[in-house]
Structures are given as structure tokens and as C-alpha cells.
Symmetry: C2
Subunit: 227 residues, 2 copies
Amino acid sequence: AIQLEGLEKIYHEDQPNIAVRAVNGIDLTINHGEAVAIVGPSGCGKSTLMQLLGCLDRPTRGSYRLEGQNVSRLDDDELAHVRNRRIGFVFQSFNLLARYSALENVALPLMYSSVDNPAQRARAVLERVGLVNRAGHLPSELSGGQKQRVAIARSLVNQPAILLADEPTGALDSRTGEEIIQLLLELNAAGTTLIVVTHDLALARKLKRVVRLRDGKVEADGPPEQV
Amino acid sequence: AIQLEGLEKIYHEDQPNIAVRAVNGIDLTINHGEAVAIVGPSGCGKSTLMQLLGCLDRPTRGSYRLEGQNVSRLDDDELAHVRNRRIGFVFQSFNLLARYSALENVALPLMYSSVDNPAQRARAVLERVGLVNRAGHLPSELSGGQKQRVAIARSLVNQPAILLADEPTGALDSRTGEEIIQLLLELNAAGTTLIVVTHDLALARKLKRVVRLRDGKVEADGPPEQV
Ligand SMILES: Nc1ncnc2c1ncn2[C@@H]1O[C@H](COP(=O)(O)OP(=O)(O)OP(=O)(O)O)[C@@H](O)[C@H]1O
Ligand SMILES: Nc1ncnc2c1ncn2[C@@H]1O[C@H](COP(=O)(O)OP(=O)(O)OP(=O)(O)O)[C@@H](O)[C@H]1O
Ligand SMILES: [Mg+2]
Ligand SMILES: [Mg+2]
């Protein structure tokens, strides 16, 4: 489903003394329905890689083929279509809209597709993450872990083929985190391709494959016991 | 150093069907130099309690004595003085200023006190958290774990008597997280009172005392093995 070749993302490439090679040459293939954990030290390029995978940013160099299509050849409309209909994205810092309630934030991706009863679909995913009793709250009226769960619910409401989750349990206590891990594993069992950045080794071990990054490169790639 | 009696924080108290009893009657005493972990499920009131402890918000009811003074009797100037000089605060969502670099964000609390060489002091704490090579970056040019470490550095630059840290390792991989835990333990060994909200049970176990919250109340309070 996903094929990366020689992928690079370099910030400030034109200013050598402050250039940062955030992603520095990555080759990676991820097939339909896989469950992959991406791990590595703070600052090693995980979120940058996720933004490239999620078509939220363009690489400096290299190629990204998504379901057979070279993503860099898509125009802005086609890219937006892929982003909204095929991919679900959970941001490391949630990125909720401050003036909209939890329910409205979750329902937002449904505006791109014509579904009947968006409020009901949004409410159903909010229930999945244990937050139907916070539906009317603004992000400023939610705890850290509640915001994180709203972000997770929002990523699922369009039933994406590929779910990209950047540290989805980072703000959760272990019990709530367990419930979210179960939810992610169920989605994967039902066919969703799952790519999860995490520093929660308990979560990483439950996925079949772990890719470890260091300094923008793949350092190891295999089953959890080996990586 | 800290004495809470019957402390409450109720959001929308005047609207019974949406009122939230975030802190619902807490009695707690924390002495000088203690190291306390605050744990509990997502949404149980930990961050709200921290905001009250950090004098960033006023309780609905109950009293908070800080080093013998009833905090609710202080006027805004005295409150600001306590907040800036006696207390260091690490926010769950970092709260960095977007238009200032890492170095400027860290140096910010020094503006309230007249220190010579604030840039040097800021650079020294940035070095402590492994980020001196990111001093010139804006928050948008930092990874999640880097932003978290800048927030930690900022909380320390005034050498506070009390450090309140709301999930300080939430965005960090285990190795970087270890380094931060070591830093916090060293500060406590040197006399800083340490109050840490965490769902990282490894960190909680390293502190002498764990206070477990549920639904805005203290459910258990004692050494880690018991709680
Ligand atoms: N401004 C507000 N209005 C209404 N309810 C609020 C407001 N702020 C917080 N809450 C609610 O108060 C409760 C406690 O929030 P708090 O942020 O203290 O939780 P927490 O223990 O820090 O959770 P987490 O572990 O997820 O960070 C939550 O259920 C939240 O929805
Ligand atoms: N706009 C930018 N300009 C310059 N450098 C940047 C920019 N954005 C990110 N970086 C740098 O790129 C590197 C990779 O960042 P990234 O966010 O991908 O790390 P990460 O692996 O997700 O880290 P964490 O685990 O802390 O979230 C970091 O060292 C960061 O400082
Ligand atoms: Mg990241
Ligand atoms: Mg919190």
C-alpha cells in the first residue's frame, strides 16, 4: 500500500549551517493491513515521516507511492481527496479546532463526504473512546487525555483505509491507554492499515512489526523481539 | 509547604446539568522537599489540581496555604510574585510562545527577576535537557519531545522552591525520559519540592509518595508499593 524510496525531508536546505536533515534517506514498504510501530529517540524524525506519509507535507527528495500512485504527481485536489478519504491522522499535539466542540471536531472530516446523519456517526466514535458525555465541551474544557481521544475519534470517523497515529496514548493513563490500544488492534483486525509512532513499548510489542529510526534513517526493521 | 483543605474546583457550578466537579473536596499536605507523584485516570482532575497548586487558577471553595500564607488572601501582585519566583510549572501541553525561540522561551521567567546574564542561564538549562543545539528554533521547528524539554527547562531557570510538572515525560522516548527523571530526582535531592503528575508508573515508583485521584478526590495516598 505504501512504498518509500530514498525519502528525504531537509529543513532550510539552502542554509548549510542551520539545515536539519529530519528525514535523511528512508526506504520502506508497508503492505495493506499491516500493523507497524515506529519508534526512536526524541527528535529522530518520526513525526516528520508521519507528515510525509499523511500527505500533509511534501518531501525534499525521493518518492512516495501510495496504493500505486506517485503522490508527488497528484495535484492539490487529488492530494486533498487522498488525505480526507483514505487516511486518518492523529497528530502528536491533537490539532483540535478551539472554537468547536468535541462533537463538531469529530464530525469535521465528514463534511468532505456526503453522509447522512454525520452527528450520529460522530457520536458513535466519541462513544468508542469513552467521551460521549463530553460531546459539547470545547477543547479548552477537556483534559489532555480527553483531547487526545477526541483527536483519535476524529481520525476514525471516515473509516480510513490507513490510520496514521502519532503517539496516540501519550497523554493517557495505562488503563485508558489499554482501551485505545484494543480499539486500534480491532481496527487493524478489520483491515485498516495501522502505522503508529509510539514510545510506549507495551504498545509497540503488540504490533507485528517495529521500525526503529535514528537521525532520520531506518536503523532496524522487524518483529518486536528483534528490534 | 503546601496545605489543602476541602479544596474544590467546579466548572459551570451555576448550571447544574453541565456542572463538572473537576476537584471535588481534596485535603492534602505536602512538606518541604518531598517528592510526590499524582496519578489517576484521564479526566480525574490532576491538571486542574496542578493549576490550583500553581496559583494559575482560584478554587471554587476550600483553602490553599502555601508556605504558611493563605493564597486566596493574596492580591494579584503578590500572587504573581509567588508564581514567578517560588514555583516552576511544566504544562501538560507545554504552552510555549510561538514567536520566540527555544532560548527566548526558556529565558522568559528571568525577566521578572534582575539577573545578570539571563541568556547564559537559559543556555545552561537548555544544555541540561540536551537541547542547546536547538536554541534558535521556534516551537514550530521542534519535535514534540523537544518542546516538552524546552517547557521543562523554562520551569527550572528561576531555580524554584517548588516544581510542578504535569506529565513531564509524556512525549519522550524511554531513554530521553530516563534522563529527565534523573534531572528531576537530582533537583529534589538538592531541596526542590517535587510534585509530578504522571501516568508513567516507572517514574511514579521512583518517588517516595504517590497520591491517586479519582473523580476529583484522593482515593489513596502512600508509598508507591501501597498505591
Ligand atoms: N473549562 C472546563 N469546563 C468544563 N469542564 C472542564 C473544564 N476543564 C476541565 N474540565 C473537565 O474537568 C475534568 C478534569 O480535567 P483535568 O484536566 O484536571 O483532568 P486530568 O486528570 O488532568 O486528565 P488527563 O490525564 O486526561 O490529562 C475533566 O473531566 C474535564 O472534562
Ligand atoms: N520546521 C523545522 N525547521 C527546522 N528543524 C525542524 C523543523 N521541524 C522539525 N525540525 C527538527 O527535525 C527533527 C525531527 O523532528 P520530528 O518532529 O520528526 O521528531 P520526532 O522523532 O517526532 O520527535 P519526538 O519523539 O520528540 O516527537 C528534530 O530534531 C526537529 O528539531
Ligand atoms: Mg514527534
Ligand atoms: Mg491532565
